[in-house]
């Protein structure tokens, strides 16, 4: 990598970040103040991705054992990030961690089991991180719908309960809506695959000389694994949050 290539990459990154900040500034003028959060996220993201880029150079050359601690670290971080926005949910870090792992790990396991990905860090880490990130978004989206909805609809839920409904029955609509919110993004991605969206994994495979048909199959399999993982994660998150916020024996909000 030459100095001029590095300078070009830095300039492009600055332009892209400027675009994101400009959009956040526009939002602020319309009353949606995400400017500070966007700036912090950009700074944090840039440091993280550069550090990861440097680390990957080392990690991707390592043996299969390298994948395990890296995946564990990524999962913990994903849970931490997902839990940050859930101030009103007790045990939010545990719920986020179990839910992300509960969706992502079966997805990764199936990928490994059917030979879609190998345990070499060069394959497992990129695909695993895609699955983890999608699971994290599903948990975050689902819980960010579900928990505030429970507060807003407390009167309706207690009306159901007072008529003899169980917590599961009383919150069924809200739970479905939250799981749907968590999963919808990935379902849209699956439906628009190849028409609206040509994913980076497939493009990279083709550029590196893999036949397009095989690249397409790999990409479809990865997106399908992600869709399954997000569904499990969102379901797991809503179920755990419900158990934490309601008393399952007395069928009521916890006091």
């Amino acid at each position: 990598m030459s100095t001029s290539e590095l300078a070009d990459a830095a300039r492009q990154a600055l332009v892209a970040a400027g675009f994101a900040l400009g959009a956040a500034f526009l939002l602020k003028r319309m009353g949606v103040d995400l400017l500070r959060e966007t700036a912090t996220s950009l700074l944090r993201g840039s440091v993280q991705i550069v550090a990861m880029g440097l680390a990957l150079g080392f990690l991707l050359q390592g043996g299969a054992w390298v994948s395990l601690p890296v995946m564990a670290g990524m999962t913990l971080m994903a849970a931490h990030i997902a839990a940050q926005r859930l101030k009103d949910l007790p045990s939010r870090r545990t719920i986020a961690l179990v839910s992300i792992a509960g969706g992502a790990f079966p997805g990764i396991g199936i990928g490994l089991g059917c030979g879609l990905i190998s345990s070499r860090p060069a394959e497992l880490l990129p695909v695993g991180s895609m699955i983890l990130a999608a699971a994290m978004n599903a948990v975050s989206q689902g819980l960010n719908h579900f928990v505030p909805d429970l507060g807003r609809r407390k009167a309706l839920i207690e009306t159901h309960l007072s008529l003899g409904a169980s917590v599961e029955q009383a919150t069924a609509d809200l739970a479905c809506s939250a799981v749907r919110a968590g999963v919808l993004q990935q379902l849209n991605a699956l439906a628009s695959l190849g028409i609206v969206w040509i994913p980076g994994l497939m493009a990279g495979q083709i550029l590196s000389g893999r036949p397009p048909l095989l690249s397409a199959c790999l990409q479809f399999s990865a997106i399908a694994l992600i869709a399954g993982a997000t569904a499990l994660s969102a379901l797991c998150a809503v179920t755990l949050a419900r158990r934490r916020l309601f008393d399952p024996h007395e069928e009521r909000f916890r006091n």
Binding site: L156, E158, S162, L163, G164, A165, S166, E251
Partner: protein, 218 residues
């Protein structure tokens, strides 16, 4: 004759305060007991504990002589109906609202029964209307019919007419007094209106700072 609901030494304490303490009362079939008292004295919390929407700290509640811990909560809530100060509609039309509670037990409320309950609260002409379009008074009448259609043995009414006009108030009073007498329901009615208490109740209680008194002793 044993009461439908027997409350013995019931207390509810939070970490930093007492909501009510040592409350004992008996609700008998066919009787309306009115409970009055200043806002924040613990009336609504007491009702929420009686319908097991909140936990109590000490004491015991017996439903038809059986302690609450021996009765599954869903069965309890079918028998102990709780009407809130501001009711909310369930999805669907008025008939759907009335059929909801029986359907939870796999029962179907017949069309004739639906009509009879709606007539009792003056809503018979609106059976197929979306419940979310009802006015506050109509909604409260629907909520009462929805509870009664569940055939409770105890009715807990938490200021059900406080925000209603005179016509809706009259309809609710008439429906409750008639149902209590004809179906042997025991009713605890929280109200801020002394005139209403005199109209509907044969027994009068007062709550103050979490303590319960017989009205004449308050």
């Amino acid at each position: 004759m044993s009461p439908n609901l027997d409350v013995r030494g019931l207390s509810r304490r939070l970490e930093d305060r007492v909501l009510f303490e040592e409350v004992s009362l008996a609700l008998h079939a066919g009787e309306i007991t009115c409970l009055q008292g200043p806002s924040g004295c613990g009336k609504s919390s007491l009702l929420r504990c009686l319908s097991r929407l909140e936990a109590f700290s000490t004491g015991e509640i017996l439903l038809a002589e059986k302690p609450s811990r021996g009765i599954p909560v869903l069965e309890w809530r079918r028998a102990v109906g709780h009407l809130f100060q501001a009711s909310v509609p369930l999805p669907g039309d008025l008939s759907d609202n009335l059929r909801y509670a029986p359907s939870l037990r796999g029962e179907r409320l017949e069309e004739g029964d639906v009509q009879a309950w709606l007539e009792a609260v003056g809503l018979e002409a609106k059976a197929s209307q979306d419940a979310s379009t009802l006015s506050g008074g109509e909604l409260q009448r629907l909520a009462l019919a929805r509870l009664l259609a569940n055939r409770p043995s105890v009715l807990l009414l938490d200021e059900p007419t406080s925000a209603l006009d005179e016509a809706s108030r009259g309809l609710i009073e008439a429906c409750v007094t008639e149902s209590v007498k004809s179906s042997g329901i025991a009713c605890l009615w929280v109200t801020h209106d002394p005139a209403q208490a005199l109209r509907v109740a044969i027994r009068h209680l007062r709550m103050d700072a979490g303590r319960l008194f017989a009205e004449d002793a308050a």
